[in-house]
Symmetry: C2
Subunit: 206 residues, 2 copies
DNA sequence: TTGATAACTTAACACTGTTAAGTATATTTG
DNA sequence: CAAATATACTTAACAGTGTTAAGTTATCAA
């Protein structure tokens, strides 16, 4: 059915258009400047049309959060060149912090804002793919470090959550301006990397 | 001036009433269920009256965030009984996590939501007292641990941010539902404490 | 040509934070 | 004591938000 196919294509095109506008709007104005009506304005359709392609605002934010995870994975491609798993773990931490600092709005969506998780919660049989992949990679790497006796042994899950928790904590304290009044502006980012550095050092076997 | 005094008192009373209603509203319905109009409804005044006592919504949220910090300090009183600084550090971490899990809405305000920091930003000559006290206490404790050769030496600021980052990261990943799809529900909280445990162990001198 | 379907819009609901302008009461001043 | 002023509060409105029920228009099949 050539006609139906073309129709499907057209529907997909508008959906794509909405998403493109959403990315632009979100990238330029962040979560606060993001609204259904503004998306509609950008693509020159009425606000209600957007609801024919997406269930609600959370679904769009969920899609954007997935784009964020794709960006994040790309930013981690340089890890493949590092043979030593401990060095790779260190670099992974640095990449995580760097990604958060360079893409605070996407980071917000991926790890801080309720919206994407609310969407996952409302739709059945849907997993948190982005987070799952990232944590699985981290756990694998930690296991490798333990196997090669580069770090002190321990429960992989606890270690993984501890390391993730730390870098996430640092990035979100920075993003949410909880360091501004406590650390000299120019020292904030260096201190974050120093903290990571310290952590990698203490968990190393002597 | 007896009359002026009575007036001052009355003004202060209504301000107190607004704050009381705010605490109740926020405690029962969290940030999302919190609005200026609802506060006004509760105290049976018009919404605009609230603005005669507080600059804006952020100011009220700032006050609530300070109440949160007072609760937090109270929850840390049991630390005084612990002589060994390393054990005290461990307990401090546990208290932090426990506080976050038991008071997710106040935690939100204290460390996750932009509102209180936006208020601080707009008002000049105001510091982030709650955060400052907490971090100072943490740094002092770490210094004590280093002095007594209980943990490996290193930059106190980096270590403090690292530890704070970790517990904050864990709590906020939990609060913002980033663990739900990655860890079995009943394992989430135990894993958090295990992570802390692991961290304290690795930083100990052998 | 009629009837159905799909795509889209209008108008509205129920909210939000915030402000300009108005009112009524109490206090101070001439 | 009467007029002016200051205080405390309210009404009404602005400009926005997400979302939905109902209506319109155009396209396609019978």
């Amino acid at each position: 059915m050539g006609i139906n196919e073309r129709k499907e294509k057209q529907k997909a095109e508008l959906k794509h258009l909405i998403l493109e506008a959403s990315v632009k709007l979100f990238s330029e104005h962040g979560y606060d400047g993001f609204s259904m009506r503004k998306i509609a304005d950008m693509i020159e359709y009425s606000p209600t049309t957007v609801y024919l392609y997406f269930k609600d605002k959370n679904e769009i934010l969920f899609e954007l959060h997935e784009i964020g995870f794709r960006k994040f994975e790309e930013s981690n491609r340089d890890l493949l060149t590092i043979k030593n798993p401990l060095l790779r773990l260190h670099k992974m931490g640095e990449n995580y912090i760097k990604f958060g600092l360079e893409n605070p709005d996407y980071y917000d969506l991926m790890f801080l804002l309720p919206a994407p998780m609310e969407f996952i919660d409302q739709v059945n049989n849907i997993e948190w793919d982005g987070g799952d992949k990232a944590l699985t990679a981290l756990k694998g790497l930690i296991q490798e470090c333990i196997d090669k006796k580069l770090i002190k042994p321990g429960d992989v899950n606890a270690i993984a959550m501890g390391i993730w928790g730390m870098v996430h904590g640092l990035v979100s304290l920075k993003i949410r301006h909880r360091c501004d009044k406590l650390i000299k502006e120019e020292d904030i980012i260096p201190t974050m990397y120093q903290s990571l550095n310290w952590m990698i050092n203490v968990l190393e076997v002597d």
